[in-house]
Symmetry: C2
Subunit: 394 residues, 2 copies
C-alpha cells in the first residue's frame, strides 16, 4: 500500500502554485506580458557570465573522472575550503573546510540542520511571516512546528510572545533574514537580543538551543541596509545558504550548511550531516556545479533591478494608502490588504490581471506578498493597474 | 544537543573507505600505479563526448533563466517525457512522463521509493550479498531491514529461505541486478519465480508488496547475458535508476524513479515523491544536468574495458583455485576467500599491494569483492601479485 500521509498531502493545494498557474493560463489569453505576475520567487536576472565561463573552462581543462567522478559525501574538499575562506574574509569568522557541508541548496541544508539538532517530539520555533514550506520541512521530521505571531510594525521579532512560547522542549529556532515574504532584515539590535535570550534559556533549561539561520537572501540587501551575519552573534548557529538567489541559479541546487566553529560539537556536525544523508538519499550536489560555484564565490548576479522594482512598488503602494514596511532586502514586499480577508483582496486584484499572493499560509493573515523579481518595465506598467484596482475597489 | 544517533554512526568505520584510504597512502610511498586498488566502484572510463557537447550547447543556446531556473520538483517535464519514451522503446513498457520522478541518482530514488511504500515498523527484505549502504538507507527510514542469506552457488535467489522469511509485515523487497558485489544478473527464471511468489503472498496477506529494483548497473552486462527488465515481470515495481555508472558521471547525481504504470496508485506515486521531497530536502537534480542527460539517454560510456578486466581476473582467479561465479555484468567480481576469515585473507593480500574488500558488510562472510573499474594495464600487472599472494600464502 502506498503511504497515506503523502497521498493525503497531494490534496492540499499551494496558493502560490495555483496563482502561478492562473497567471500562465491568463497569459495564453492576453499575452503573458500583460499579466502582472507577482506570484513566484524565481530570480529573473541572468547568472554572472563568469559562472558560465567557469563551467566551460572546467569542461575543457579537467578530465571526465576529475569533473564528474564521485564527490565525497560532505562535498569536494577544495570547494569547502574556499567557502570557509570566503566567509571568514567577509564576516570575520574562523571556519575551516571541516565546518562546511555542501548541500542541494537551502532546502537540503535545512533538512540536515533540523535532523542534526532535533528528534521527533522536540519543538522548533519560527517567526511569522515565514516561507510556507517551513511547515512540511519541519513537521515531516517528526518535530513540532510552532510559530511566533508577526510583529507587524517592523517585521522584526515579537519578543514578548516569543519568550512566552520558549520552553524546555524548544531545541531549535528557525530564522530567515532577509525575510521571505516581508523583505525585512533583522537589525543588529534584534539579533543581539535574540542571542541574549537564547543564551539565558540554554542556561535555564540546561540544554543547547540551536539557531538555524536560513540565508538565501543574504546578498540581496538594499541601500543603507547591512544584513548582520547571524552566526557572528550566537555560537550555536547553523547557517543554511543557497546560491539560488544570489547567483540566479535555483535549478542547479547548490548551497551549504556552515557550522559555527564555537558551537557544541562543532567538529562533528558536518560529518554527522554525511550520516544523515545516508538516510535521506542526499549525496552532495552536482560535482561540476560545486567546482563552478567555487570560482565565483564572491560574485553575485546584478541584483540592482530588485531595488529599483522595490522602490517603484513601495512608493506606489504607500501613495495608494496601503500600509507597508519598506523592505531592506530580498525581492518581496509585504503590504497589508485593504480588507481583512487577504484572499478576497487578491481575488479582486486578479480582475486587473494583478497576481498577488494572500499571506495566510505565511502565518500572517490580512497581508499579501508581491515577488518583484520581474522586469522593471513590467513593474512600471503594473502601477496603473494597481491604481485602478485600489481606486475602483476600495 | 546534537542527535546521538548520528553522532554514534560516526564511530562506525567503512571497510571500503579504510581500504581506499590505505591504497591512497600506500600510493604515496610506492606510486599509486603500483597499488592494485580494487576497493572502490568509481567508474574509470570517460563520460561520452556527446554529454560534454550537450552541456556546451546548452550553455550557448539557452538563456540563463531557461537553463538554471527552478525545475519543477518532480523534474523537468520534457526530460521526464524523453526518459519514459526511451524506456518504452527499449523495454516495451508504457510509461508516460507522469510515471517518472527525477532524482539525485539511485540513493535518492531509493530514499523516495522506500518512503512511498513503507512506514516505520514495516519490514523490507533484501538478498545477500548486498550493497552495504542498503542498511543505513533502510534502517534510517525506521523500517526493519532483513536479509535473505546468499545462494552462493549462483548468486541468484535462495527461494526456500526467502519464502520462510516473508510475512505479513513485509511491505517491500529490494533487489539489485546486475548485482553489486557479486556481478550476478538475475535470470528470467529467477525474476519470474520471484514475481509469482510475491503475487501469491500479496493475495495471502491482502496487501501490496512492492518490488524496489535498484538498477544502476542495468547497462553493464557482458557477452551473451541480457538483464531482464524487472518491471516488465511484476506490476508493483518501482525502478530506481542512476546514470552514474552507465554514463560515468557519479558526481553529477542524476537518475530517476520509474513507477510501473500498472502498479497500485501508479498515477499518484511520482507526485507523492514530490511531497516526500519536501520532508527530506530533495528538490530535483541540477537542471543543466537533467537537460544534458536527456540528450544522451540511449548512450553509454564505452564499457568494454570492464568485460576485458573481468575475463582477465576470472581466468586468473579460477586458475589459482579460487571459487568464483562468473559475473554477468557490473564491474565487480566476488570470489570466495581461501580461508574462512575473509578479513584476514584481505589483510594478507595487502602485503602484495592488492587491495581487496572482505564481504562481511555485504552480508556474505567468507567472500571478498574486487572492483575492477581500473585500467586494464593495471589489472594485467596485478595478476602476478595475485599469483604470488596465493601461492606464497596458501
Amino acid at each position: 500500500m502506498i503511504v497515506q500521509q503523502y497521498k493525503k498531502m497531494l490534496e492540499g493545494k499551494s496558493v502560490i502554485r495555483e496563482l502561478s498557474e492562473f497567471a500562465t493560463e491568463r497569459g495564453k489569453e492576453i499575452g503573458y506580458d500583460n499579466v502582472f505576475d507577482y506570484s513566484l520567487g524565481n530570480p529573473s536576472v541572468p547568472v554572472p557570465q563568469q559562472f558560465t565561463e567557469a563551467i566551460t573552462d572546467l569542461l575543457k581543462s579537467k578530465s571526465s573522472v576529475e569533473l564528474h567522478g564521485y564527490s565525497p559525501s560532505l562535498g569536494i574538499p577544495s570547494v569547502r575550503k574556499k567557502i570557509a575562506d570566503s566567509l571568514n574574509n567577509r564576516f570575520g569568522m574562523n571556519y575551516t573546510a571541516d565546518h562546511i557541508f555542501m548541500t542541494s541548496a537551502a532546502a537540503s541544508a535545512l533538512a540536515h540542520a533540523l535532523r542534526c539538532v532535533t528528534v521527533p517530539g522536540d519543538e522548533v520555533l519560527a517567526f511569522a511571516p515565514f516561507f510556507p514550506e517551513y511547515r512540511p520541512y519541519i513537521e515531516l521530521t517528526g518535530t513540532v512546528f510552532k510559530t511566533v505571531p508577526a510583529d507587524t510594525e517592523s517585521f522584526q521579532i515579537n519578543f514578548e510572545v516569543f519568550e512566552e512560547m520558549l520552553n524546555e522542549k524548544t531545541m531549535a529556532i528557525l530564522i530567515n533574514t532577509p525575510n521571505n515574504p516581508s523583505g525585512a532584515v533583522y537589525s543588529v539590535d534584534t539579533v543581539k537580543r535574540l542571542a541574549e535570550l537564547l543564551l539565558a534559556k540554554e542556561k535555564e533549561y540546561g540544554h543547547d538551543i540551536f539557531l538555524i539561520s536560513d540565508e538565501p537572501y543574504r546578498e540581496i540587501v538594499f541601500d543603507g541596509v547591512k544584513a548582520p551575519y547571524i552566526s557572528a552573534f550566537y555560537d550555536n548557529t547553523l547557517s543554511c545558504y543557497s546560491y539560488s538567489k544570489s547567483l540566479s541559479l535555483p535549478g542547479e541546487r547548490i548551497g551549504y550548511l556552515a557550522v559555527n566553529p564555537a558551537c557544541t560539537d562543532a567538529g562533528l556536525i558536518a560529518a554527522m550531516c554525511g550520516q544523515i544523508s545516508r538516510g535521506i538519499g542526499h549525496n552532495c550536489p552536482s560535482s561540476i556545479i560545486q567546482l563552478a560555484v567555487a570560482e565565483v564565490l564572491d560574485l553575485t548576479a546584478d541584483m540592482s533591478v530588485y531595488e529599483t522594482n522595490m522602490n517603484l512598488l513601495y512608493n506606489q503602494l504607500t501613495e495608494l494608502g496601503l500600509s507597508c514596511v519598506k523592505p531592506g532586502g530580498t525581492f518581496y514586499i509585504f503590504p497589508k490588504a485593504l480588507e481583512e480577508d487577504a484572499a478576497a483582496f487578491c481575488r479582486k486584484a486578479l480582475q486587473y490581471d494583478l497576481v498577488l499572493v494572500p499571506a495566510d499560509s505565511f502565518g500572517c493573515p490580512g497581508y499579501f506578498r508581491m515577488a518583484y523579481c520581474i522586469e522593471t518595465k513590467k513593474v512600471s506598467r503594473s502601477l496603473s493597474a494597481l491604481r485602478r484596482f485600489v481606486r475602483e475597489t476600495y
